[in-house]
């Protein structure tokens, strides 16, 4: 997982979390504020509706007051026939369903011709009662009984007729009464008028027109008004599902019913009305006796506001989402920009690791990244420089070691060529020596020639043994023999004449399993190193001993020793303390490699000025190993079966046996 990915994920989480929280909070508040605002508006609308309603009542009262000024009225009280015509005209003008003249008992003396109410006792009508009591006009909402004429069969049977509903046989009406005074100012009767509201939708429609100004949504007027008689809607512009006015339906919201119609409180809130949710406001309608006889309702359809709210929230969420996406894009771009150098560094280090040392980061951003890039480039420079030096050194060393190898091959070839003339010398000298008639001096001279020729032969054989290309050929062998062969070669090196060599070789050593030539090279390398550590002479001691399951070979010198800091480097290839051209630096690492192939270990102890001891630990040959078990017990005849007997004579002879032929 990349840093960029993790950073981005974290930022995204934070931003999304913040975005979601902010959105939820804001959306909730948008909704609340919006809906509260609507609800408050509806509450104010009810007040306006009430004002319309009241002004309608006042208009009736005013109309009656004006009519009552007529000076003929007191006389008409006693002449019902004449009064009826006048009242009829008046009722049409004032749009009154009831218009009567009452005597002081509250009994109908005369009424408009279209209503047959003569003889009705209206003394229990609250408006009438209050007018008598106060001696002035009174207006209000009252319940008026339905007249027989209004339920006549011909009316009922005509479905086209606008038959107002009359719960319990009563209508709810706006009513007013005003005293009729004679010339002296004495009250002689009452003029009573009432406007029935049942099925008369002009008032509610007027309220809607006044208050809501026909605000509509999807072709529906969202503002509604209703007049209740008790819990029954008697005038409304609410619509049933079939589109007809919802007259005759009942207020079935218990909460509203209890608050408004029983407790007489105002109700403001969301309620389910007829067939949808509305912001509503209800107010009880009381008669002048303060009895609750109905209710006035205004309501605004909730759906458009919910839609508005949802649109607002949607727009808000879209904005938030847009902003979040924008932030994310900017963020990813920013992290890209920040992390770009890291990608460059990764790519560059990959190329360096793949061997392209010319690869550099190249870019220099500001700040820490810039420092990092500079540092990485500096490191690459250093690596390249060191690599170049190392390559130079390596090439020099390889050239050197190849030179040595070709010298070795050359020497081997020369040695072969020397063999042929040497054969002649040795043969004919031997033949001469076997003549019977030689004198003592000649015999001694020929013996010397034979001895020295044999010495030459042995030197050549030693050279050939050493120069022979080594194909690892392991056999069970006695390490002492290997030591003998190696030291014998060293004995012939003139430059070591200052060094005295000692061998402390344990007898009856167990055999080790290894390649004779390679192990000889190991001993030779260690011994040569030891000798080179003693340029002014010293003592070289080679010790062999058995130790548990191992044969231990120690090569000790009394030379200058190895500094502690060099000790850990001496087994590295090409590490040398000798001047350039003097040593390849390969000796010890070759030695180390050979010993590893033999499952052996090489240890070193050194003390400055006192000398060094290299210790080789070789595992002893397993009795059931590739070497024949029989020969494992007899070190002297330790020759594998595949080596012909004369091969033994081709091995370097033991030291000091040069003349023993």
């Amino acid at each position: 997982m990349t840093v960029q990915f993790r950073l981005t994920i974290r930022f995204i989480s934070v931003i999304l979390l913040a975005g979601v929280a902010l959105s939820a909070f804001t959306a909730y508040h948008i909704a609340r504020v919006l809906l509260e605002e609507v609800q408050e508006q509806v509450s104010r609308d009810l007040n306006a509706a009430r004002a319309v309603y009241d002004s309608q009542t006042e208009q009736i009262e005013l109309f009656l007051n004006t009519a009552a000024l007529d000076a003929t009225l007191p006389a008409l009280l006693n002449n019902p026939q004449q009064a009826e015509d006048l009242l009829k005209a008046l009722s049409e003008t004032g749009q009154l369903d009831r218009l009567c003249l009452l005597d002081l008992e509250g009994r109908v003396v005369a009424c408009a011709a279209n209503v047959r109410m003569a003889g009705h006792d209206l003394s229990n009508d609250p408006v009438v009662r209050h007018t008598f009591r106060r001696g002035r006009s009174v207006a209000g909402t009252v319940l008026v009984p339905r007249l027989e004429s209004e339920t006549s069969p011909e009316v009922d049977s005509d479905p086209e007729a606008d038959v107002p509903i009359a719960p319990d046989g009563m209508f709810i009406a706006l009513a007013a009464a005003t005293p009729i005074r004679d010339a002296t100012g004495e009250t002689v009767g009452l003029m009573y008028g009432a406007h029935i509201l049942n099925n008369r939708n002009n008032l509610v429609d007027a309220i809607r027109a006044e208050v809501f100004r026909y605000r509509s949504w999807k072709g529906i007027h969202i503002g509604t008004a209703t007049i209740f008689q008790g819990p029954i809607r008697v005038a409304t512009n609410l619509r049933n599902d079939d589109g007809s006015r919802a007259i005759g339906t009942t207020l079935d919201d218990d909460e509203v019913y209890r608050a408004v119609l029983i407790k007489g409180d105002r109700f403001d809130g969301i309620a389910y009305v007829v067939n949808d949710w509305y912001f509503t406001s209800y107010e009880p309608l009381r008669d002048p006796d303060d009895r609750i006889i109905g209710a006035l309702y205004v309501g605004v359809l909730r759906a458009p506001f919910m839609e508005t709210r949802n649109t607002a929230i949607g727009v808000f969420l879209a904005i938030v989402t847009g902003v979040v996406v924008l932030i994310l894009v900017l963020l990813i771009a920013a992290t890209r920009q920040v992390l770009h150098p890291i990608e460059r560094i990764v790519e560059m280090t990959g190329r360096v690791a793949g061997g392209d040392l010319t690869a550099r980061v190249g870019i220099r951003p500001s700040g820490e990244m810039g420092r990092l890039c500079r540092a990485v480039d500096a490191m690459a420079d250093a690596v390249a420089e060191r690599e170049e030096q190392l390559e130079l050194a390596t090439r020099r060393q390889i050239t050197q070691s190849e030179k040595l190898a070709s010298i070795g091959r050359l020497a081997a070839g020369i040695a072969h060529e020397i063999n042929n003339p040497l054969t002649g010398v040795l043969t004919f000298t031997s033949l001469l020596r076997s003549k019977p008639n030689l004198d003592e001096q000649d015999r001694a001279d020929l013996d010397l020639v034979i001895r020295e020729t044999t010495r030459v032969r042995n030197i050549v054989r030693g050279l050939l043994d050493f120069a022979r290309e080594s194909h690892s050929r392991k056999e069970a062998l006695n390490i002492n023999e290997v030591v003998h062969q190696a030291t014998w070669l060293l004995h012939n090196q003139k430059e070591f004449c200052e060094i005295s060599m000692h061998e402390q070789l344990a007898e009856d050593l167990p055999l080790v399993y290894g390649d004779r030539n390679q192990l000889q090279q190991v001993v030779l390398n260690l011994a040569l190193n030891a000798c080179e550590a003693m340029p002014d002479g010293g003592t070289l001691t080679i010790i062999s001993r058995a130790e548990g399951e191992e044969v231990v070979l120690s090569i000790q010198d009394t030379g200058h020793g190895i500094p502690r800091e060099d000790l850990e480097k001496i087994f590295e290839p090409f590490y040398t303390t000798k001047p350039v051209g003097k040593g390849t630096g390969l000796g010890l690492s070759v030695t180390y490699g050979i010993l590893q192939q033999h499952g052996a270990t090489l240890g070193v102890k050194s003390e400055i000025g006192k000398g060094s001891t290299f210790t080789v630990r070789l595992p002893i040959a397993a009795p059931a190993g590739p070497a024949s078990p029989a020969s494992a017990d007899t070190p002297a005849s330790a020759t594998p079966a595949d080596t012909p007997p004369p091969a033994a004579s081709s091995d370097a002879p033991p030291p000091g046996s040069a003349g023993a032929t």
Partner: protein, 129 residues
Amino acid sequence: MKPETAPKKILVVDDEAVVCESCRRILIREGYVVDTCSDSRTGLRLAELNHYDAILLDLRMPIVDGVRFLERLREVRPNASVVIITGHASAESNRAFERLGICELIAKPFTPEEVAGAVQRALKAKDES
């Protein structure tokens, strides 16, 4: 040990005349009849035409080297005793010799005793087989 009845015939093949001569002198002294040849091709021809009890063969020769010489020799004389004269024995050549039925090997430079002994052993091994 000298042959008692008919003298054994020996062929020496070595491109170095001095080696041939050395062998000849040593083996004549031992009572053998010796042919020498410093050209491996001629040597092969000689070996095809005559019967030799033993053949001394140098490994390193121009044109036909010792190993190829031996391979061709085995085609005509599968049972001939061969003693190899070598500058330097190695494991590889040892294995090749085993395949070609060589039992004796002498390394240059040799002493007369080494040559005599090797030839003797080779002839004896042939007699026994």
